[in-house]
């Protein structure tokens, strides 16, 4: 493979609000049998029609096809770290559109959705086996929502013990995904943050200093996004337990450890898996997703309800009679169409396949690390660590920026000109200058990884030879580099076309002259 320039589709597609002609129709409906006009209560009739486009079905189709073609992502090579880019089996997409999945109403009688409940229950069993937890629930609509679920369960658990007012602190680390502190804060807890120390993770002494009778929970990931595994994690969970708190495992980075460890055996009381990443569900630009939340039998009474259960007669049902339940974090049972996809993925992989995926993810990361560190201008987080990394590593283009003034944003933009979508950088706060975090996982081939590294090397070289070329990138994208200042300016931001028309009327009038 050699780095070659590509060109993304460029359709010059107007905003849909500018399209269409009065009178055209994209969809029509049968005429009602009775006159509806009299059925609208006085004063509640809409007076002005919404200013929506009037387009034919064909024109709507073409418009959105054009838009779809202007998305690079996995059409090229996207090693988007922390998101675990996987193949999303299209068989599952086809299954998801079948009426036995798509046309199911969540309030249908249990007897009419036995297959779906069986899938949910059996997938629950698979996750229990992988984690050692006693019960999973799928109501949370994403990883962050599962973290929120944990904060809700924590409230319920301590309320039942009469300790809710006393235990008002949740401990997390500066490297934990922002959803951990953010959901803890939303749930009303005080947040205590542990900082990273020399070996790449917070010290056990910092944890000890943070623990107290006020501690409700620890919310932590492991390994972190730098590929560093905390070897003291069992001591951590034991200390949290001693202090009377709950230990929650944000298993966002499960891909490198699956098939080797179990959250419960490490002493965690609860954990979370993201089915839209580790278990092959599609990203969809950010959901519909599922944060599968699992916990110990001790916490299970507090889970959101209902739970899918297997009855003694072998049938499946919904258990809504759970007096200690914290209620709901979202309506109904969750994104069960994504649970279905995750179940299909897990069945296609099996225990051996899942372990092999972890093997390949860790192999790919270390292979990539060797290649990336050979590129002048690339640094690595925790440079002193000598061990092999887990499934991802955080790098930085600090040296390149020092040398050329061009950092990871400019480099990422230029990489897209070669068909490589810009990498994930880092969650806030940045602890590595000019960070980027690629993750190859088990999906991407050696050739893909080689190409990715080659493109990065090429762009770093361009940054030295022709910095203006990189600074003004991308050049082969659907549009030129956007102005990201206007969206931060109250006078100019516009999240809707109506706001844009109002705020930019003068500008547009000038342009029209």
């Amino acid at each position: 493979m050699t780095a070659k320039l590509i060109h993304q589709a460029r359709w010059n597609e107007p905003v849909v609000m500018e399209m269409g002609v009065a009178g055209r129709r994209g969809v029509v409906f049968p005429q009602p049998e009775t006159d509806a006009a009299a059925l609208i209560p006085a004063g509640m009739r809409r007076r002005t029609k919404p200013a929506l486009p009037e387009m034919t079905e064909h024109d709507v189709l073409r418009h959105y096809l054009h838009l779809s073609q202007q998305v690079l992502g996995m059409m090229g090579v996207s090693l988007f770290g922390t998101c675990t880019m996987k193949y999303n089996p299209r068989l599952s997409e086809a299954l998801g559109l079948r009426p036995q999945m798509a046309e199911i109403h969540p309030l249908q009688p249990a007897a009419s959705i036995q297959g779906l409940l069986e899938i949910v229950h059996n997938f629950d069993l698979i996750l229990r086996e992988l984690s050692g937890m006693d019960q999973f629930v799928f109501q949370a609509a994403g990883g962050a929502d599962a973290a929120y679920t944990h904060t809700c369960v924590t409230r319920g658990y301590f309320a039942a013990k009469g300790e809710l007012e006393q235990r008002n602190e949740i401990i997390t680390s500066i490297q934990a995904h922002p959803c951990n502190p953010a959901t803890a804060a939303t749930a009303g807890f005080k947040v205590v943050t542990l900082m990273l120390e020399e070996n790449g993770y917070p010290s056990i002494d910092a944890l000890k200093a943070a623990l107290s009778p006020r501690t409700a929970a620890l919310m932590i990931n492991n390994p972190d996004d730098m590929g560093v595994y905390n070897p003291q994690i069992r001591e951590w969970t034991a200390l949290v337990k001693q202090a009377g708190g709950l230990a929650f495992y944000d298993h966002a980075n499960f891909n490198g450890v699956m098939g080797r460890i179990r959250a419960r055996e490490l002493g965690f009381d609860a954990c979370m898996f993201m089915l839209h990443k580790t278990f092959g569900g599609p990203k969809g630009g950010g959901g519909p997703a599922v944060g599968a939340y699992g916990c110990s039998a001790e916490l299970a009474p507090f889970l959101p309800k209902p739970l899918v259960v297997k009855n003694s007669d072998g049938s499946y049902g919904l258990d809504d009679d759970r007096p200690q339940s914290v209620g709901k974090v979202r309506e109904f049972l969750g994104n069960l169409h994504i649970v279905m996809r995750a179940y299909a993925w897990a069945r296609a992989m099996g225990a051996d396949g899942i372990k092999e995926a972890a093997d390949l993810a860790v192999l790919a990361n270390n292979y990539m690390e060797k290649k990336l560190l050979a590129i002048p201008g690339v640094a690595r987080s925790n440079p002193e660590a000598k061990t092999w990394r887990m499934e991802m590593t955080r790098y930085g283009l600090g040296p390149l920026k020092e040398e050329t003034g061009l950092g990871v944003v400019e480099v990422g933009n230029r990489m897209t000109d070669y068909g490589i979508d810009a990498p994930w950088l880092s969650h806030e706060p940045w602890v590595v200058p000019e960070p980027f975090t690629p993750e190859a996982g088990e999906l991407w081939s050696k050739e893909d990884i080689d190409l990715w590294c080659e493109v990065l090397a090429k762009v770093c070289d361009e940054a030295r030879q022709d910095p203006e070329l990189v600074r003004t990138a991308p050049h082969n994208a659907p549009i030129g580099r956007v102005d990201s200042e206007a969206p931060e300016d109250p006078a100019r931001w516009a999240t809707t076309w109506r706001a844009y028309q109002r705020k930019h009327a003068a500008t547009r009038a000038r342009a029209a002259e």
Partner: protein, 366 residues
Amino acid sequence: MQRLGVIVNPIAGMGGRVGLKGTDGPAILARARELGAEPVSGARAARALAELRRLGPAVLAAPGSMGEQACAAAGLACEVVETGEATGAAATRAAARAMLGGGVDLLIFAGGDGTARDVLAEVGTQLPILGIPTGVKMHSAVFAQNPAAAGRVAAAFLEGRAATQEAEVMDLDEDALRQGRVSARLHGVARVPQERALMQAGKSGAAIPDEAALEALARRMVTEMQPGRLYLLGCGTTMRRIKRALGFAGTLMGVDVALDGRLLAADVTEAQILRLLDQAPATAILGVTGGQGFLLGRGNQQFSPAVLRRLGRENLVVVAGQQKLAALDPACLHVDTGEAALDAELAGYIAIRTAPDRSAMLRIAA
């Protein structure tokens, strides 16, 4: 067109290479020259200014080695300001004055803490300033990480891509330093361009969240203060937020004491604190100096060993923004009370308050 002022302290940094802890004053400079020190500041300034070439800003420079030459080396045309017969610090101040009068939008200077102090003394917060780090001592928060970064931040500011924020200008007492004692003090606050950190998701501008969090925290802390208890409020901008939340302007560079929601004593000395401690229980609230992460012994020597022993570690409350803490490398704090034994007693983990209901655990290094 945007106007840029350029001042280079040509001798800044010369002391460092030859083991002197600064280059302040003609005697030290002569000693540095004797030891074979070479000027480094001009070349580093030119490196920074090269980043601005593509913008072609209107430049007002100090004469000769004080800016004009660096501009030429960087390929920037400039107009030269008059500084008369002045040399050294006086020349820096004269140039800064001229630039303030000349209507520049940003004053970029090459030097160290001493240069920063001189510039600050003239322009205060009337004009944004930015330091190209070329000195020996750089405890002030007005310096970019390196010369190229300084040039880029300046470019971003001139292009309207950077806001400004307050930054503390610190300087060590060089006499004390050469005698083996570290003693620093806060000389004031400057306005410094801050390139908005780029966020992943949209690569859109990110705000600096510490500001709002610390404002809210200051208000919260005021509501938490107990009647009859003394609150010793340390130096710096973070402490000033609490002072303002209490309703008084406060001493930026000194320790103020509050009691029952009012200012009891401003800019107190160690002796005054000790006398007050006889009268009521007390809590000391401290900020963290950026970059180095010092809690004690940098600009707040009023918190002497005697005061600290009277207070006890449990009555020290530390406040700092999370971004500031995250930028510490390594993530630990330092104390330098002048007594090694007390420093050792203070060592260990401490919860730093970062916002209302938020804290971070950091180690005070032994």
